[in-house]
Amino acid sequence: MQLGKTKVVALLAVAAIVASACGGSTATPTAAAPGATTVTTPPPVTATETPAPAVNGTLPPTDTTVYPRAETLYTSGKQWGAPSTWNPFDGNMAMGVVGLQYETLFLYDPIKDAYTPWLASGGSWDSAKTTYTINVRQGVKWSDGTDMTAADVAFSLNIYKNAALGSNFFTIVDKVVASGNNVVITFKGTPAYQEFASALYNDPIVPAAIWTAKNDANILKFTNQGGVGTGPYTYKTAAQDRMVWVKNPSWWATTALSLTVKPTYIVDIVNSSNNAALGELLSGGLDLDNNYLPGIAQIVNGGYGVTTYFATAPYMLGGNTAWLVPNTKKAPLSDPAFRRALAEAINPDNVVVKDYGNIVAKADPTGLLPVWSKYIDTAQVTSLGATFNATKAKADLAAAGYKTGAGGMVTNKDGSAIDLNLEVPDGWSDWMEAENLIAADAAAAGIKIEAKHPAYATVVDDRNGTATAAPTFDLVINNDVQIGNTPWVYYDYIFRQPEIAAGAARNRNYEQYDNPTAWALVQKLDQTPTDDLAAMKTICSQLQKIQLTDEPVIPLWYNGEWSQVNNSVWTNWPSSTTNQIQPATWNGYWQMGAIYMLTNLKPVTHS
């Protein structure tokens, strides 16, 4: 025990140096040994690594552990956590599982409102429009080399009979039967055409040979890492902070449709802090970023080589509508006249300009997204739509019987004070600023709103209620409906009946608005064939009348389909002028045409 103190200190120091041995000697990274051999046992830092599966005997070229920059596309935006499942039936699947690896029968282009046959070579209704026949494309191969057949397609649709998936496909569909190279679908009663059309371009087609054994109560527990699909990419690797796809050399569309995806590798980076994401985008470490980055307008105009879909405001396509959602079960928000006055009190332009710096656009009073603009009854909007007018808001409140109390603030009809809470999740900086602007606008019209920002989970709790407690919120901001093939989705979200029980499963009609007439119209819309535009417009107009007069939700602005790209390695990105394609990597967007983004990209050649 006669170890001198200095010796101990020295020992500690030595230990420290050894522990950080790498520090001094390797501070200058040099490009060494690019052809180094691949070691099959990964080091401990990557416990989640698994080697890529051999694909049809055609392993990609030699050293595949270093992705050449010129052949690699770096993306970010979809993945909020480590990729954990590649099961295409799990909503939390990794980026690209449906779209890059698994494909759908059709693609749908929201900009052109057109369906493109994909794994189907076509599809048609019979003359009575009660039976739908899918022509299964021939010559499509799974990445394990076997052929995709009509039986696979039928299996992939019949899989929704599995209760664990909770799908409502078989509440509208009666039977799915393979017959030769076709799959015939019969319906229960009048087909829900709109919903069915969504399924055609959203439901993934999987190989029956692999999934039959998985199709039980535990289907969602199957993570399907390195699974077999038909798409242009196959699983390469995944780690805590990334998902890597590698090109499938035998993708069917190359021969069938003369399409080739340009990047050999796609590395999707799990969303990081804003500073890191912006830094990577500006320095060319990231090609496509699908996150909200504040101040992107200045960067686009600043000559950094970063571009967006539109070259000027609003820069981004409209991705979803942000509404102010009132709790219609609580006074005074239960009064349509009050909600109307609230809608008139708020100036969405404030949010557009002061909060977002013009990277979003003000919403139409119907809230229907630009892709659905043809369904907007503009004459009716002009006559009924609420527009910002604080004076009118005050007058309307007085006319509806609301009194003015202390400090010019409006009181309830019984004279009690009105004090509404507006909740947005803490840390959602754009929405936190928006709620302050909304509260200020409302105050100018005499309506007291307190802007609050509790934790996300608290907002969800207050909004959804729990098994034992009704929703307690007054006002929240919501934007759950993304672009898609039909405005039915939008109205189903707002008007859904019967009310879904409070708690975690509640996922629409948060405002708890009861209107059987509106719900009947929503169902009628669902049962209108997608090619009967006139009938769709008529129903939508009726729904808009209800929404414009009753204001069950108050549309504010179109949240952007956030997408900013760096042009230093890849060019020919989607844009309003040359390439009208969805520029997003989120779930559901690949089959809305974003896959063409990959086939249209051009590598930048440096001389």
């Binding site: 103190k5 390797t26 040994a33 070691v39 270093v66 956590g81």
Partner: protein, 331 residues
């Protein structure tokens, strides 16, 4: 000595039990329902699908059990080395997630703590009573130690990574690489490690340097130093004794600082998107992931207790008075 360590061990076990219980309790006092968060984040399902997802996740995570049963389950699983499944990880075992992240955090923390302690103390000791060093190192130390980890991390990231492009901006290793035992991968790993390491190292370095410098001055003023000096002992010898005595509070300080340092590492990792435990903690909080949060804190608790235990042992080695006390004598 056995009694000394026995007593210490008992204290540590008790601390562990209490800490683990609090660790289990805290997330459950957080408002909100993790399953609701998970289902909401997944996007819009049909209502039937959402109901099915809620059922699936509630069963998967055992949240349908009453709280006391959940607490008992916690201990039984824990003793089996099972930390449960992560909500944020969509059902991935928490243990696997921690094991994937921990090497990054340890690779930052261990060298940063030990090196900063060693370098800080050496510089501090050197600086004491040496005017030019005192005038340079000391103010720098004050600035560094008062700097929040996160701020320094942002400054380093902006200057050295973004503007000068010397170091990579984010991640644990290049996004163009897969882990292999190659020189290329190793250098890349180190390049990604340096800035997070530096932001921890520099802040701690400042603290230790100031502490040591002040301790040395105090020791040099004490009676034994003056006595030695009056006997004509060389300055070097006096400083050597002063250093030995000044070292003791610094060792205790190290033990006390561990928790703070861990917290510092957490924010640093977020700035650099470094895929360690800090990153996971952040995600766990955002996703109401009880199990993950609990697991990580448990890991940190064990780590801090273990480090404290090591410090205890070191203390015995370097301070003869403790050894005397253990043998029942008085110093």
């Amino acid at each position: 000595m056995r009694r000394y360590f026995g007593r210490k061990l008992f204290t540590y076990l008790l601390t562990f039990f209490v800490a683990a219980t609090i660790d289990w309790l805290i997330p459950r006092f957080m408002p909100g329902d993790p399953v609701a968060v998970l289902v909401t984040k997944t996007g819009v399902f049909s209502p039937t699908q959402a109901a099915e997802m809620v059922k699936y996740y509630t069963n998967l995570f055992g949240l349908n059990q009453p709280l006391p049963v959940q607490y008992l389950n916690f201990w039984t699983s824990l003793l089996h080395g099972n930390l449960g499944l992560s909500v944020y990880g969509n059902g991935t075992p928490v243990f696997d997630m921690i094991m994937a992240a921990a090497p990054y955090t340890l690779a930052l923390l261990v060298p940063a703590i030990l090196l900063s302690w060693w370098a800080g103390n050496s510089f501090g000791a050197l600086a004491a009573r040496r005017k030019w060093l005192d005038n340079t190192v000391l103010p720098m130390g004050y600035i560094l130690t008062a700097t929040p980890y996160m701020w320094l991390a942002l400054v380093l990231s902006f200057t050295l990574s973004f503007s000068l492009r010397i170091f990579p901006l984010s991640g644990g290793y290049g996004f163009n690489l897969e882990p292999t035992f190659t020189w290329l991968f190793f250098t890349d790993l180190v390049a990604h490690w340096i800035l997070p390491f530096l932001s921890l190292f520099l802040v701690m370095f400042g603290g230790w340097a100031i502490g040591m410098r002040n301790m040395i001055i105090y020791e040099l003023e004490s009676d034994y130093s003056r006595y030695l000096a009056s006997l004509g002992a060389p300055q070097g010898l006096i400083r050597k004794y002063a250093f030995r005595n000044a070292m003791l509070p610094q060792i205790t300080g190290l033990a006390l600082q561990l928790g703070v340092i861990v917290a510092g590492a957490l924010v640093t990792e977020i700035v650099f998107s470094y895929p360690g435990l800090g990153h996971l903690v952040f995600a766990a909080i955002n996703n109401e992931d009880y199990f993950l949060l609990q697991g990580i804190f448990l890991f940190i608790i064990i780590g801090v207790l273990l480090a404290n235990f090591i410090v205890d042992i070191v203390y015995v080695l370097v301070d003869p008075r403790t050894r005397v006390a253990m043998r029942g004598g008085t110093a």
